[in-house]
């Protein structure tokens, strides 16, 4: 390159220098704003216009991102995130309306919709986050305090969170931000007494369940046994009622054998027979019987 410039005359050299300076000026006059940012143009410290401002419903590519012009040196550009940002909150204890303590961890999602206002009131998006975090804390505390513990856990959460979102949104508008959503990430029992009480309650409930299961088992066993006995009785009745007289005889014989001729029972019994016993009928030698 240097070899080239040696062949040029002084006028050409001057022209080249002017060109370079003009090019540099042109570069400072052009601002590149990506889709993820909106840029506030400040003329001597005063915001005059916004490049790529967020408007809901406008698709990407149509919003004004890309190259824009500014007056070099007089206008500076403050870049602000255009995306949905998070406000994180530290865990905090809230007290429900029925005086139960609950440890709550929540988050909010917001977007800067009025960058000029935001630049005036907060300066940067980080500062907005810092400002919103304590507000979220207090709004949440107020909102949760008017609900019972049980309702904090269950479905009423939706309506309650919407109230909290609206309250936080009102505050956030002061910073040019819009609260999109507030969610409770966690709602836990704080360590110590509340947690121990919950554990104790769970244990008691389990004990109760165990007792109930055991009793239920015994009951079922009884029913099964009785059922079987009833069926057995029916079987006996069906069979024996065909001839009750014969059953009486048959069962008596069996019973005598079991009682008097049980090989397992060696104790001897003395049986006194009168001579006119039916068994001895033939023994007597009488005829015609």
């Amino acid at each position: 390159m240097s070899d080239l410039s040696f062949t040029l005359g002084a006028r050409e050299k001057l022209a080249a220098a002017v060109l370079v300076v003009a090019g540099l000026l042109a570069m400072t006059a052009v601002v590149e704003v990506p889709e993820t940012q909106q840029a506030v143009v400040m003329r001597l410290g005063d915001p005059v216009r916004v490049i790529n401002r967020y408007r809901s419903g406008v698709d990407y590519g149509m919003t004004g991102a890309g190259l824009s012009l500014r007056i070099p040196f007089f206008e500076t550009v403050v870049r602000i995130d255009r995306r949905v940002l998070a406000v994180d909150m530290d865990k905090q204890q809230v007290i429900s309306s029925d005086q139960q303590r609950l440890e709550v961890d929540a988050y909010a999602r917001f977007r800067i919709i009025d960058p000029v206002k935001m630049v005036r009131t907060a300066g940067t998006a980080d500062k907005v986050q810092e400002q919103l975090s304590p507000i979220l804390n207090s709004v949440l505390r107020q909102g949760l305090a008017s609900h019972t513990f049980q309702s904090l856990l269950t479905i009423e959460r939706g309506a309650m969170l919407e109230q909290i979102r609206a309250a936080l949104d009102q505050e956030a508008r002061e910073y040019g931000a819009q609260i999109i959503d507030v969610r409770i990430k966690r709602a836990d029992l704080p360590a110590g007494t509340p947690l121990d009480r919950a554990f104790a309650r769970m244990e008691a409930a389990r004990e109760q369940e165990a007792t109930a299961i055991r009793a239920q088992g015994e009951k079922q066993a009884r029913i099964i046994g009785a059922d079987a006995e009833a069926r057995a009785a029916k079987i006996y009745a069906d069979a024996f009622s065909k001839d009750p007289a014969f059953y009486d005889f048959y069962r008596a014989m069996e019973s005598y054998r079991t009682t008097f001729a049980n090989p397992a029972n060696k104790s001897q019994t003395t049986i006194v027979l009168t001579p006119d016993n039916d068994y001895l009928r033939q023994f007597r030698g009488t005829k015609g019987q």
Binding site: L153, D181, A233, Q268, T270
Partner: protein, 380 residues
């Protein structure tokens, strides 16, 4: 070389800088490349070098570097230009002639430009990828798989992202206990996996500041909300679990859709839903009770089967005998009577006595006592 002795080397190094560099320990004090005559130039102590040209002063020893030194000046002796700056080192890489004249510059520039064009205009995307094309930061389009051409780098840029591969996020990370409150104010130790991918890369890229963190936070919020709606036993049981999983998935999807996040939740899988470690014993007791109850019931079943089987057996036996009895009632009856009496009386003591009042009953205990001594004695 060392065998030559210090004197010889000291005398020869001033005009042989490569040699000096080769052995810095021995002649480190000597300034390499000093064109001044040696401080002392005694004649070589050894026999005269036969290769040395006469009248040219002391000739240096050829170092190993000299052998590889490109002989630009031909094979002539080195001291033809003794006052010039000594070469700094061996020139191992010689540029082809003509390159140093400035002709390579356009060539190199052309190469750089070509490289720049190729690497920033052609974009080869695999089938699971999509790319966001921006023109000076402004969104201009989304490119799919295959080879895509864009304007070169400062004008257009492409951000490639894997969109179809499913990402898995485990909550909580690691094996720590994470307790959640259930609807009946019990606690359950829960861990789960969220599977998701990118549905709309444009929204995913531009809508949220931290899409991945948002997925986790939304998952936590949705899971806790869903678990708080059911009872502990439903969380730990099988059917309730599947219901929670699908609830959480729907809930997450609707929240993320409200954010226009461009994220698709593929599924939520509960990895673990256990009672907290602190109350595990109580849960074990429930299991033990369940086992007890099961045992009681199976015992009862066994008894029932036994009872019924016995009844059926006895009934069948009666039926069989009765069938025979019906054929010959009188004979069967007497036969059974005698058979039974035979058995009964043969295994017992018998006394046949006329019915004569009270007295016959009195000695019965005595007879009973005597009976073991003479069991058959009382028999007739």
């Amino acid at each position: 070389m060392k065998q030559n002795g210090d004197g010889i080397i000291g005398a020869q190094t001033p005009i042989s800088p490569p040699l000096g560099m080769a052995e810095p320990g021995q002649d480190g004090t000597e300034p390499g490349g000093d064109p001044a005559p040696p401080p002392a130039s005694p004649p070589p102590a050894g026999p005269r070098n036969p290769w040395q040209a006469p009248g040219t002063g002391p000739r240096r020893n050829p170092g190993i570097e000299d052998l590889f030194r490109p002989r630009r000046d031909g094979p002539g002796p080195k001291d033809q230009r003794p006052s010039g700056p000594p070469p700094l080192g061996p020139k191992l890489f010689r540029l082809p002639p003509g390159l140093l004249d400035g002709k390579w510059l356009p060539l190199a520039l052309g190469g750089v430009v070509a490289l720049w064009l190729i690497s920033t205009t052609g974009h080869q995307l695999s089938s699971n990828q999509e790319g966001i094309v921006t023109t000076f930061g402004k969104y201009t389009g989304t490119i799919g798989s295959g080879l895509n051409l864009t304007a070169p780098w400062p004008i257009q840029q492409v951000r490639v992202e894997d969109v179809t591969s499913i990402r898995r996020d485990s909550v909580p990370e690691g094996e720590a206990e994470m307790l959640m409150l259930t609807g009946d104010q019990s606690l359950v130790d829960l861990s789960y996996i969220v599977r998701w991918n990118i549905r709309n890369l444009k929204q995913y890229t531009y809508q949220l500041q931290d899409p991945k963190g948002t997925v986790i936070e939304v998952a936590e919020a949705a899971m806790r909300a869903s678990v708080a709606e059911v009872r502990l036993n439903d969380v730990m049981g099988g059917a309730g679990r599947a219901e929670i999983e699908s609830h959480v998935r729907q809930r997450m999807q609707s929240i993320l859709d409200a954010y226009h996040s461009g994220i698709l939740i593929q599924g939520v899988d509960i990895k673990k839903a256990d009672p907290p470690a602190k109350v595990n014993d109580a849960f074990q007791k429930v299991q033990a009770a369940q086992q007890n109850a099961n045992r009681d019931m199976s015992n009862a079943q066994a008894y029932a089967q036994q009872t019924i089987a016995k009844a059926e057996g006895e009934a069948a036996a009666f039926d069989k005998v009765y069938a025979q009895y019906k054929l010959a009632p009188e004979v069967t009856r007497r036969r059974m009577y005698y058979a039974t009496m035979e058995q009964v009386l043969s295994s017992n003591d018998k006394v046949i006595a006329p019915q004569s009042g009270v007295t016959s009953y009195l000695p019965l205990p005595a007879i009973q006592k005597k009976a073991p001594d003479a069991p058959q004695g009382g028999g007739q």
